[in-house]
Symmetry: C2
Subunit: 221 residues, 2 copies
DNA sequence: CGGGATCCGTTACGATACTG
DNA sequence: CAGTATCGTAACGGATCCCG
């Protein structure tokens, strides 16, 4: 039943909100930026009801922001369409604005860490050297991400990397603290991350890229 | 009663949505980017109930995104705080994304045109020459805006300009059509706008700036 | 007349239980 | 695993009323 509470205004801001303004919708898109996800992956969003998740996924499919794809053994996954992937900059600006506010006292932990992928990718994309290439694995609280740069094109996807040349392990809270401006980059780099892997130079390049990205975020305005 | 439906997640995207994610909130902020507005100005948002507007303004005040200020003759106005004004880039990205979707068939006209100020300002800011200065009046469907550039710092505010050196008159729909990519810039400049005022050179400079801004929008990604 | 407050019917959301 | 069904509660929309 085609969404009763829509603005239906000519203004493009209102048109955007008619697509992604409902509760949970932007958080679902945020998680899908980390790559395809199953229904149960998305259900780890803390507090979402299953029927609501179904509704949101239908709506996003109708608006062609996501597509449902059959995966192995009868399971199916949801993934961003090209149109849906254009929410990356929007989500990044939301993160920039949200970083202005101190976290609440009683905070729910996310069910998974796919949440970091968009923000990290866009932040790195904005400061990356166009010649750079690298293939690394980023591990946050034990969850692996494939972090690749292909001649200046940054990608961050949930899951293990293929033959990574370097591995950077860290955890969620200090990353957030740096993005919020609560922790210094030096402190983070010095004590909150661990490099390993066959190619230490790529490890340092990754750490340096993430560092510049995070530093840039704080002076964005 | 402190908002029951909040995410309360550590993720900065969720923290932002806890401040500006409610229905109407971002549209209120959008309008306030055009300058201070009274309660009744904001009530022209098509479809908002007065009690809801009251609630949203309270919430925005509590979060220090807006402030209420006494104006002349017992009236009072709402205006963005510095913190609230940091939603400009976010609103711009929303507009960029919303421009991907064709307007609905049955569209409500906005009650006023303050809606255009943020998007236009940010779009111009992103392409302006840092040396540029100008003082002009932009008239959209009869509603005046003071459009100024002070050594590269762009401002667009609702209301008449002070001693404008040039005036550019146009209307809302063609501006939207250009931003959506439905109308060519040449068509717009040639037939949908009218320049006047004592300093034609500043008029042309304004038209050229707006043109480059709108052209840039379409190739943003 | 500007700036709300109050009331009430409707819709959306949240929690839980249940099913192919 | 991937949803559907049900139901109580909170939020929204529209109208009316109030007060300086």
């Amino acid at each position: 039943m085609a969404q009763a509470r829509r603005y239906r205004l000519l203004c493009p801001i209102a048109r955007a909100l008619d697509r992604v303004g409902d509760r949970w919708t932007l958080l679902i898109l945020r998680d899908l930026h980390a790559g395809p996800a199953r229904f149960s992956d998305l259900q780890t969003l803390p507090g979402i009801a299953s029927n609501l998740l179904t509704n949101r996924l239908r709506q996003l499919e109708d608006d062609a922001l996501i597509r449902r794809r059959d995966a192995e053994y009868g399971t199916n996954v949801y993934e961003l369409t090209e149109l849906g992937s254009r929410t990356a900059d929007l989500l990044f600006e939301l993160a920039m604005f949200g970083a202005e506010f101190p976290p609440d006292e009683e905070i729910k932990r996310p069910g998974n860490l796919r949440t970091i992928a968009v923000t990290l990718r866009v932040a790195c994309q904005r400061v990356v050297n166009p010649d750079m290439s690298l293939n690394a694995e980023l591990i946050v609280d034990g969850e692996p991400f494939a972090f690749t740069v292909d001649r200046g094109l940054v990608d961050v996807k949930a899951g293990n990397a293929q033959n990574p040349e370097a591995t950077l392990a860290t955890s969620y809270e200090p990353m957030i603290a740096v993005a919020d401006g609560q922790m210094s980059l030096d402190d983070f780099a010095g004590t909150r991350m661990r490099l390993s892997g066959p190619n230490p130079e790529q490890g340092r390049a990754l750490a340096e890229l993430m560092g510049r990205a995070m530093a840039q975020m704080k002076v964005a305005d």
